[in-house]
Symmetry: C2
Subunit: 347 residues, 2 copies
Amino acid sequence: MSSTTKGAGSDAVLHGEEAIIQEYLAPLAAGYPGAFGLTDDCAAFTPTPGHDVVVKTDPVASSVHFLADDPPADIAWKALAVNVSDLAAKAAAPQAYLMALSFPEAPTREWMAAFAGGLAEAQAAFGMHLIGGDTDRRPGPVTISITVLGEVPSGRMVQRGTARPGDVLFVSGTLGDGALGLALLRRPELADRWGIDAASARTAVAKYRRPQPRLALRDVLRSHASAAMDLSDGLAKDLGRMCRASGTGATVSIGAVPRDAVAVAAISADPIRWNDVLAGGDDYEILVAVNADRVAAFEAEANAAGRLGREPFAMTRIGTLDATGKVSFLGSDGKPFVLQRTGWDHF
Amino acid sequence: MSSTTKGAGSDAVLHGEEAIIQEYLAPLAAGYPGAFGLTDDCAAFTPTPGHDVVVKTDPVASSVHFLADDPPADIAWKALAVNVSDLAAKAAAPQAYLMALSFPEAPTREWMAAFAGGLAEAQAAFGMHLIGGDTDRRPGPVTISITVLGEVPSGRMVQRGTARPGDVLFVSGTLGDGALGLALLRRPELADRWGIDAASARTAVAKYRRPQPRLALRDVLRSHASAAMDLSDGLAKDLGRMCRASGTGATVSIGAVPRDAVAVAAISADPIRWNDVLAGGDDYEILVAVNADRVAAFEAEANAAGRLGREPFAMTRIGTLDATGKVSFLGSDGKPFVLQRTGWDHF
């Protein structure tokens, strides 16, 4: 680590990509020899023999995936967690990540220190190391482009397109909290309207800012899942993707969709908030299809694993896959439930 | 591939991330089974047994790394080539890449088709496949974030920080063409001032828009290099990085630095243009340190490989590494040559 520019004070603006990389990011790479302390052009990742490397890149940008005034540690956590959530859904063990940071203006030392602190916390929680970093300055929002590398035994990545008609559908945790947390950040007065207390509002905001990848499900998914994917753009849209990739349809009873207290209260006051639960996005829960023969074992083992997770969660059965080729939501009256929009699309 | 939105006509704006991915990007992934046709959350990369995976991410942005009105096929080529150039310097064989695209406005079909065409050309030239893709819309410049995966036999990545005093320094190709090509794009009248013809100007512009990763050097680097890195931010800055990582200094005779006809003419008219050659950036050539005992073999084998490359190039000896801890440039009079700036820094 260089200390030549430290005299500038704790809230000074950082100058030079190397200062950012060596002072704040290199310590996050210290545990992985193939990262070469972020002083080389590339990293050398040594795969475990007999394993595939599961890879994913999903950049996050200010005002699109997080709010500019979110705490920097939370921004860092989320940037890594949304990628690790994909690894979790594929039954992959997180190993390493690369990160390209882009700023319209050089960050302050205070911001970078908090951001690096959030990354340190997240990578320790997920069991991985930073192995490559790059920073640049360009107009537009602060952008964090992370690529994650995980591992599965060769050929054992749990896929999205291998669900079959008759499979039972499960989701982890509760849906809608992230989207409702974002709504509460934008319009705090909604808490009164929904009749929720400050602690419940904070829980929803935490779900938006600090999603918890369901890594505890790894072994259970590998043993029992027909197919799985993470929910990032909302159940309606993501389930549509699973069905399209698998050549199936699906029917979901919305009354069965697991909701936290905030979602129950929000829907009770504003039924339109069903949209946040079914199509709001930002859930980072896992959607799993399970063959009927395996449902009992899956449910028992997944719930046991969820209870032992860093953040305990349950698995909930929400519907079944069929051969209709379309996704249907049924209201509690058994009639088709029509969504206002089907999910988050960037275009 | 979906064809449901094709009725909109060839210059219509594209709507929907899935349309972009499935129509234009999925064909680039068709050759790699673990890409799952870009329909899954993640890709499964199967490493060759006994190899390390060499990884790098280096996003490029409009107006920073390319010009907004550059041909889309060239933008695509450059976005992949600048990353592959790093693999080439590490003696790694390119295998696969992931790409996240970000647009402030949805691209037209015409733009996407040309962009995908450039990618197809580049990935075929470099011997790799697209295995993961993501698109989103956000304010700011068009940004292409590529992560490349290459392979080397375990533990054999050529590093940056393993050069030693006494090593001889070489560079591939010629330096400054990319920076001068950019200068000519911005101020076409410079061609007259420098007295160069249209064909020479086009060559420099092509070097800026379509850098050629020196993949032909792979075996030679692995056999003979003490250290190597690619030149992206200019010789002065990147050589400083090699010296810092290796704990060495270096002396370079600027008269020995290989220059194409455009650089010779530009310097002759405007000696300040030495800055473009030594510190302009956008070279994407390889800087190599070679132990004195291996120089003869390296030079012979590297030049032989360069002659057989897709775009032939030579290796040129430009200086030596020493124990001074600093980088010195000597003019043709043998006196220290002082640069106006030491290289491209994003901050």
